[in-house]
């Protein structure tokens, strides 16, 4: 898979910073919209970005959000340094959550984040190590050629 001839941007996410939570996703949505990506695709990418960003803010010390855009697909890599996920299968179940009251007060932590990300992705991979962090790799195709 080639990622040349595209756009690449990296964003830092600060863990625990609830006041700025979501600002990276807002930025990503603006970038994709400006480029002229189809609105329904922009929306899916924005939902993925927002849920992923919120997960970093809620569960990690810090994270790095990489956005790649090629003529055929959008790829988002989100890597964080944080508590990690002990049981990924369980975390992927709708409604399963380890959120604190503070997270729930923000309107999140209902156990919908990872399932929402998967639902909006064409390709979704997650890996995690307890005590170290979690990495997400998401691809959203822009056309049939975006298939691997």
């Amino acid at each position: 898979m080639s990622e040349k001839n595209g756009l690449f941007q990296k964003f830092e996410i600060a863990g625990g910073d609830f006041s700025r939570a979501g600002s990276v996703s807002t930025k990503i949505k603006e970038i994709l919209k400006e480029i002229g990506i189809e609105p329904s695709v922009v929306r899916r990418a924005a939902i993925v970005a927002y849920e992923a960003e919120m997960n970093v803010v809620m569960y990690a010390r810090k994270g790095e959000f990489s956005l790649y855009l090629t003529p055929h697909f959008i790829r988002m890599n989100i890597k964080d340094e944080g508590s990690g996920i002990p049981d990924i299968d369980l975390a992927m179940q709708e409604g399963y959550s380890t959120a604190t009251d503070e997270m729930r007060e923000m309107g999140f932590g209902a156990g919908m984040g990872l399932p929402n990300i998967k639902k909006n992705a064409d390709k979704f991979e997650i890996s995690s190590e307890v005590g170290k962090g979690t990495a997400l790799d998401v691809i959203i195709r822009l056309n049939q050629a975006g298939k691997e």
Binding site: G22, T26, R43, E105, G107, F108, M112
Partner: protein
């Protein structure tokens, strides 16, 4: 239904977006859980919520909601209000509770998201 009609019906205060009260609203959804809104929200929806922090405005922006109604007299925080102005998302605040707000709008003909989808499919 125009946003202006919604404002009158809910006796709501316009927090921002005075100039957008003629916006046409054709569906609504209510939740305090932003992940649910992200999962089920459709573009153009009126978001009815009791969550009045900046995350509700960000969520509305991400799903392209047309406007937000805060229930139980809630007002956005400074950051949320600024973001809504920047993004051009009108915010209304009603003192009615969520149940009454939804009931009033529904009984005056504003459907939920799923019903709008069903209608399109017919």
């Amino acid at each position: 239904m125009k946003l202006r009609d919604i404002q009158k019906l809910l006796q709501a205060e316009v927090i921002c977006g005075e100039d957008r009260l003629d916006t046409e609203i054709d569906s609504a959804g209510a939740s305090d859980l932003m992940s649910d809104v992200l999962a089920f929200g459709k573009p153009g929806l009126l978001l009815i919520t009791g969550l009045s922090n900046a995350q509700s405005v960000r969520t509305a922006d991400i799903i392209e909601a047309r406007a937000i109604v805060y229930v139980r007299g809630k007002k956005p925080d400074k950051e949320g209000a600024e973001l809504a102005r920047k993004k051009g998302i009108p915010i209304l605040s009603t003192r009615f509770m969520m149940y009454r707000t939804c009931g009033l709008l529904y009984s005056h003909g504003l459907p939920g998201i799923i019903e709008t989808e069903e209608k399109k499919q017919r």
